[in-house]
């Protein structure tokens, strides 16, 4: 078995999990559109929502006003609510105009929001209706990114889950294949493809694909690795299609990446020698790169506000590979099964919190006086003004951080604010 598990769960430590309810200071699932629309290049995301939803995506995207974004909002207005206009007719009309304008779209997601859900606008029926209208040129799917159902990265989960039923079925006698699940930077995928090829694993696909016409096939011989920790629903529907998850920690840091790759290597019968021969040079290079960041981070105390569900794997990496001390690690949602390997590697004596009561959490953060706080954009400057050093959590989902050659980049994201604070003397 991998080195990770040996060193990880020797003792039966119990990490307390504080479950909180109160004001949550997190984005809703619509935010995932910002990276998803760049990943799947022929897909378009049409939010069916309010002016608030449109404003959220625009504000979260910040300065990134793209020349022509592949997302838009169909803003529900009073006429739709008062029944003066049939919301379904209106939606059909909007979609028709959109598709006329963008003939390059092959896949259209209707994305549900809080308002569309509260008024019970049935987007799955709308998607079916529109799909049959625009068949075969455009496929129309739907999912919910609403804030009453989804938190931040759960929007990607809902999106991918909606896409799974459209994956072609693999032949029953198909050779075992590996599927990497979760949106990744293209550069990371390309690195891994090279590694898998060197190990002799050739049947590798990525989901979501870069183009909707390149959907990987799936069946009982599909084994999948989660590249992201927030894909609970996607995993469930993948298993309904016969795929089996390879349990592993997440590919963050050298240790996490090694254990994650090893899970695939073991499954595909790659010998230990071969595995080491392929990965060792990369591991060593990554560890050398990490050594540059270590002096900045070692012994520093870090506090996580909940944001993307990446908190636990990242905390594990910072603690075990860079010697940071974890104080509280907040996460919006903790998936026990998917994070079992991660939890086994967490150091004792830390506080994990799930959910949020932002005021109480800020109080705890002030009491703990961490050296570095990981938090959302709404909290960062106010905490800096109180004298804390902060790292924006959102950067962690917009930056290539997975895999060996990104491990030091990930560490650097945390070292930079500390470094900066040291430089600024005025």
């Amino acid at each position: 078995m991998s080195a990770v598990l040996e060193s990880g769960c020797a003792d039966t430590k119990v990490i307390p999990i504080l479950k909180e309810r109160g004001q949550r200071e997190v984005f809703c699932g619509l935010t995932g559109i910002i990276w998803l629309h760049r990943k799947i290049q022929d897909a378009f995301f049409l939010v069916v929502g309010s002016r608030t939803c449109a404003h959220l995506i625009q504000s979260a995207a910040g300065v990134m006003i793209f020349a022509e974004p592949r997302f838009a909002t169909a803003i529900i207005d009073e006429r739709d609510l008062a029944g003066l206009a049939d919301a379904n007719d209106e939606l059909d009309h909007v979609v028709r105009r959109l598709l006329e304008r963008r003939p390059d779209i092959k896949l259209l997601f209707l994305v549900g929001s809080c308002p569309s859900e509260v008024i019970k606008l049935d987007l799955s029926r709308a998607a079916q209706r529109l799909s049959s209208q625009f068949n075969p040129g455009v496929r129309v799917l739907n999912y919910s990114g609403s804030g009453i159902e989804t938190t931040f990265t759960q929007g990607e989960d809902a999106c991918l889950a909606s896409l799974v039923p459209t994956l072609p079925a693999a032949q029953v006698e198909a050779a075992p294949s590996l599927m990497i699940v979760g949106t990744l930077a293209d550069v990371v995928e390309d690195q891994w493809t090279r590694l898998f090829t060197e190990m002799g694993i050739h049947n590798v696909s990525y989901f979501p694909p870069r183009r909707s016409t390149e959907l990987p096939s799936i069946g009982a011989n599909t084994r999948y690795l989660l590249a992201q920790p927030f894909l609970a629903d996607t995993a469930r529907v993948l298993e309904e299609r016969g795929a089996q998850r390879l349990p592993a920690p997440f590919p963050l840091g050298v240790e996490g990446t090694t254990a994650w790759l090893k899970a695939a290597a073991d499954m595909f019968g790659v010998s230990a020698e071969k595995f080491d021969a392929v990965t060792m040079p990369k591991r060593e290079r990554a560890m050398r790169a990490l050594q540059h960041q270590r002096p900045q981070l070692e012994g520093k105390r870090i506090f996580f506000f909940p944001d993307s569900q990446l908190e636990i794997p990242i905390a594990r990496f910072l603690s075990r590979e860079l010697g940071m001390q974890l104080t509280e690690v907040g996460t919006p949602f903790l998936h026990k099964q998917h994070l079992a390997e991660e939890m086994a590697m967490m150091p004792a004596g830390i506080q994990i919190s799930e959910g949020q009561h932002v005021e109480n959490q800020i109080d705890r953060c002030r009491a703990v006086k961490p050296d570095l706080v990981v938090c959302g954009l709404g909290l960062a400057n106010p905490l800096e003004a109180e004298g804390m050093t902060t790292k924006w959590a959102i950067e962690l989902v917009f930056t290539p951080i997975q895999g060996y050659d990104q491990a030091a980049d990930l560490a650097e994201l945390f070292a930079r604010p500390l470094n900066r604070r040291m430089r600024l003397v005025a």
């Binding site: 935010t31 979260a60 804030g147 183009r211 960062a380």
Partner: protein
Amino acid sequence: MQLTLWTYEGPPHIGAMRIATAMRGLHYVLHAPQGDTYADLLFTMIERRDQRPPVTYTTFQARDLGSDTAELFKSAARDAYDRFQPQAMLVGASCTAELIQDDPGGLAKALNLPIPVIPLELPAYQRKENWGASETFYQLVRALCTPHAPAPGTVRAPRERGKRPSCNLLGPTGLGFRHRDDIKEISGLIISMGIDINVVAPYGATPADVARLGEADFNVVLYPETASQAASWLQRTFAQPFTKIIPIGVGATREFIAEVAALAGVDAAPVLGDPRSRSTWYAKSVDSTYLTGKRVFVFGDATHAVAAARIAAKEMGFKVVGIGTYSREFARDIREAAKLYDVEPLISDDYLEVEARIAELQPELVLGTQMERHIAKRLGVPCAVISAPVHVQDFPARYAPQMGFEGANVIFDTWVHPLMMGLEEHLLGMFREDFEFHDDAGSSHLSHLGASKEKTETKPQQQSAVSATNTPNSPPIGVVDVVATVTATARSDNNLAGTPTAANGPWVAVWDADAEKELGKIPFFVRGKARRNTERFAQERAVAPITVETLYDAKAHFGR
């Protein structure tokens, strides 16, 4: 349902937040789902506020619906009171909570908090941000000032002899375009006239300050978008007159001084000639001759757009070729201004429609919001920002007001900055073949503006069509291509916006190769206009193809 790519204004509760965040000692309890907390970052990131907005969100979830969302609201309001101890509280709903009809006002009332609680009804499916700010400020002023109001019909007692006149400054909010600096500039001006400032609100005011508004002799309305509703109520209730002139530009500032002086009964003369005022002389200096007749397109909130058009025409010597606003509430002001310049007003919050209009008019300078800055960048037209919606760049570290004499100086500099200097323009025109005078060279003082990076970014249609092969290193795209693409974009945008324009007819310009080459010798910053004029000339005469002679015939016809 309206298809929206980018919005100029947020929902009305964002307007309420702009009031609450600008003030001190006020708290806003907003019934809203978790995603709506994004609004905090507008203030902490764009405006770099060092405190969280004073807003508590209930962040109800699907599982709360139909059971205890009302209870959730009550406990959130109670906790917010206990924790923040505000002097007054605003309560309301965002778009989603409006649909579940929990009545935040009634629920908050039932809590019997020992402070004024002001319920806000902000219809999220009809109204937008500026309306929300105006309504919130009005409700707040009404609730806090009513206890101090004189009996209806009371005649305002004349000011005691020897007492200095006083006024309030109304309208500046959080996320306002240069509000922070306008307050300083106008306060300084007013104080130098011997007038006291009673209260500035909402920016920096507490609820207790707002309750004192009635004590001033008159009100100065800096931003009608947020303050005119409240000012009208104060006029009716406290017999306080208010100013109508917005002091943006030298001419308007002088008129504003006269208006304030009349309301306060003081002499305007001593402050009319501010020694810091340089923009008038700068505009007159021969160096500025090249600004003459530059075609500008103006777009923004109505107040800033009207002011900018006036400055452009009267204080810079530009030609206003288009004016518009995204705020329907103030459409009338824009229509009136449009008459002055004999142009078609554009009242629209559809970004694509604005883009199409700019592409069609091909101005030499765009004065707009951050949205128009992006449009202009795409079209390769210089742009200066004059109005909200704001961006982090609109909160400069230095003092940079828009109002008063210093504001006029700032505006002069800001607008001239993106333009090509006069002599440089001539040299470029004369020596087209100089290898360093290529299209991407741009002007020397703005080397970043002409950089090819900006142009590769543009290309909406093309980008989508070739995205599979589009690498970040794709070669810089010639300006002619950009113009052509822009025209194509404008046409399809028009289809989407459902407003076909005259330019949209079946006639298609055909250029012969020599004419196309000759067009390429014209400096890029006027080439768009030359192309447009020539095509119009050719269309009117059904000339095809366009030759070198057509180009010069058109030039002679249009006189430039």
